[in-house]
């Protein structure tokens, strides 16, 4: 397929999708944390949130409800800071009422995602992370088809939690990647053990090890595990930068390690 030259993704160096067949495994949380870790490492990062029914990114980054402006090239992304180190686009910014339900069938979702891919003026970015809803349907096909027209897609990170109910869905997502020619950059096991903030006892609430087994079973790279950390949960709930608040935590260390492996992988394909 010929790639359209120029366009709004022309100065975006790398595009990575964050996928999971399963809902609630932490795609948006890890997209947010990986973006913050990459920024922490001096990269210019963007997040495109194509979860139209449940857009979580705006709240996680505490950007409230800013107005989205237009420029000659299309929509101006929302920046989390004056230095414009982290750029965002989400349907969350376009809704009048944050509780308004987006009750759209596939074709309408496909059309907006096409616009999100081509009409956001990202400018210069090192990495654009694309947060997706669970599944293997309209949104995933739309974002992939539109990205492929405009830009090389580096690949996808797949998120799972340890239990079989999750890895069972993620196996299907792996098939989606293989069928659509999307490179799997690796699998992350999230909520991998719960560390009590009071006594540091580790409980395997959602069991453990399923992500690593899945990686072995499917011949994928295992990027690592991230624990279920109530301090991270609270940061996300409150829209705070976990990395600024808890730079010495084991959780940050795990996220940072995944971010570094990701960077190495996309810079040396």
């Amino acid at each position: 397929m010929d790639i359209i030259k120029g366009g709004n993704l022309a100065q975006v160096q790398h595009v990575v999708l964050i996928l999971s067949g399963k809902g609630g495994v932490g795609k948006s949380t890890l997209t947010t944390e990986l973006a913050l870790a990459l920024r922490h490492a001096g990269k210019k990062v963007g997040i495109l949130d194509v979860d139209l029914c449940g857009p979580s990114i705006p709240r996680m980054l505490s950007v409230g409800k800013p107005e989205v402006h237009q420029c000659d090239s299309g929509w101006v992304p929302v920046y989390t800071d004056a230095q414009k180190s982290l750029a965002l686009m989400s349907i969350g910014f376009l809704l009048e009422d944050p509780d308004e339900a987006v009750v759209w069938r596939g074709p309408k979702k496909t059309a907006l995602i096409g616009q999100f891919v081509s009409d956001v003026a990202w400018g210069e970015l090192d990495v654009l992370l694309v947060d997706t809803p669970p599944g293997t349907s309209d949104e995933h096909l739309a974002v992939l088809e539109n990205l492929k027209k405009q830009h090389k897609v580096d690949g996808a990170i797949l998120i799972t939690t340890p239990q079989a109910v999750s890895t069972g869905d993620v196996r299907r997502e792996i098939t989606f990647c293989k069928k659509t020619g999307l490179r799997i950059l690796g699998i992350v096991e999230n909520m991998s053990g719960f560390v009590c903030p009071h006594c540091s006892e580790c409980s395997n609430i959602f069991s453990k090890g399923g992500g690593e087994e899945l990686a072995k079973l499917t011949g994928s790279v295992y990027l690592g595990s991230v624990p279920l950390d109530p301090l991270l949960t609270t940061s996300i709930e409150e829209g705070k930068d976990f990395i600024q608040t808890f730079p010495d935590s084991a959780t940050f260390s795990a996220i940072n390690s995944i971010a570094q492996t990701l960077l190495t992988s996309i810079q040396n394909p």
Partner: protein, 319 residues
């Protein structure tokens, strides 16, 4: 006909639109004559066929959440087990999560294929009085991905409702994927002539869930789907070592229910044994019957049963 047929042009207005067959995009489309005749705006005949089929189903309950991973399938499965524990009741569980069908695993039916794909789809039975149907049964391998756009998913849901041999049921529980999209619109549309008792909405205490669940509630209001109530799942975790409890940050489901004038059916605590039971395809209610979580489930199920029965009584008095 599907809202956007597979051979439609790029800017097809939709076959049910007022502009169907009449816009500039319609020029040259093979369906143009059909659309402009108005035939495609007629109600789908499947709706009446399904209503006919559903005459033998006393109560229909949808399990919804705007948010993924809050425990819809877990709850649906255990609601089904609890209702079926009364041997005089016939219960069925329909899984319309086409892309991520978890129900076969959770019900211990993984790897069971369904015979007779073409005309009469027969459900699988967990107990004599507990039937299950899921696209998971139609997939030949655990790696098979269902990479379908909306219209094809809608067609599958129609088949599940119209062509599955449900028989006489006291309860049909429908487990849904997260969101407010094709699957949700289709299930409500296809059951529109069949009276749904209501929806049970599942959330977890975190705001990241509640913000999506409020949208789901708005969806229910928009399509006039009654809400039986809200279940707060994974409600608090008590560390097994130090016993300290971790509370929600924005008032959880309780505050949301107050604000939106809904019933909080109950809270189910986060018990690692629930996830383990699901992975093993066993009923947590049988595995750990004396746990606080099992007690919470039973109390919630009783509230749902009471709602369904009072619903019938109200209808009978009104009729």
């Amino acid at each position: 006909m599907a809202d956007i047929p597979s051979d439609a042009p790029q800017h097809c207005p939709g076959t049910a639109s007022e502009q169907a067959g009449k816009t500039s995009a319609c020029q040259g489309c093979p369906n143009q004559n059909l659309c402009s005749s108005g035939a495609t705006k007629a109600p789908d005949p499947a709706i009446e066929e399904i209503a006919e089929k559903m005459l033998t189903v006393k109560h229909k309950i949808l399990v919804l959440s705007g948010k993924g991973g809050v425990g819809k399938s877990t709850f649906s499965a255990h609601l089904a087990h609890a209702l079926a524990s009364d041997a005089t009741k016939e219960v069925a569980l329909l899984d319309v999560d086409i892309c991520g069908p978890s129900i076969p695993r959770i019900m211990g039916l993984e790897g069971e294929q369904v015979a007779g794909l073409s005309l009469c789809l027969s459900p699988r039975y967990v107990e004599d009085n507990l039937a299950v149907m899921s696209i998971g049964f139609l997939l030949s391998s655990p790696d098979d991905a269902v990479i379908w756009r909306g219209p094809k998913k809608n067609g599958m849901i129609k088949q599940f409702l119209r062509d599955v041999d449900w028989g006489e049921l006291d309860y049909l529980i429908v487990d849904t994927p997260p969101g407010t999209s094709d699957e949700h619109l289709s299930i409500v549309q296809y059951l529109s002539s069949a009276r749904i008792d209501g929806a049970v909405i599942i959330t977890t205490p975190q705001e990241v869930s509640l913000q999506d669940v409020r949208k789901e509630i708005r969806f229910c209001q928009k399509v006039q789907l009654p809400i039986i109530g809200v279940v707060e799942n994974m409600s608090g975790f008590v560390c097994p070592k130090c016993k300290v409890n971790l509370p929600p940050t924005t008032g959880g489901a309780e505050r949301m229910c107050e604000e939106m004038n809904l019933t909080l059916l109950g809270r189910v605590p986060l018990d690692p044994r629930i996830g383990k039971s699901c992975d093993e395809g066993k009923s947590f209610l049988s595995e750990v019957p004396d746990s606080p979580a099992a007690a919470a489930y039973h109390s919630i199920v009783q509230s749902i049963q009471a709602y369904c029965l009072s619903h019938v009584t109200r209808e009978e008095s009104a009729g």
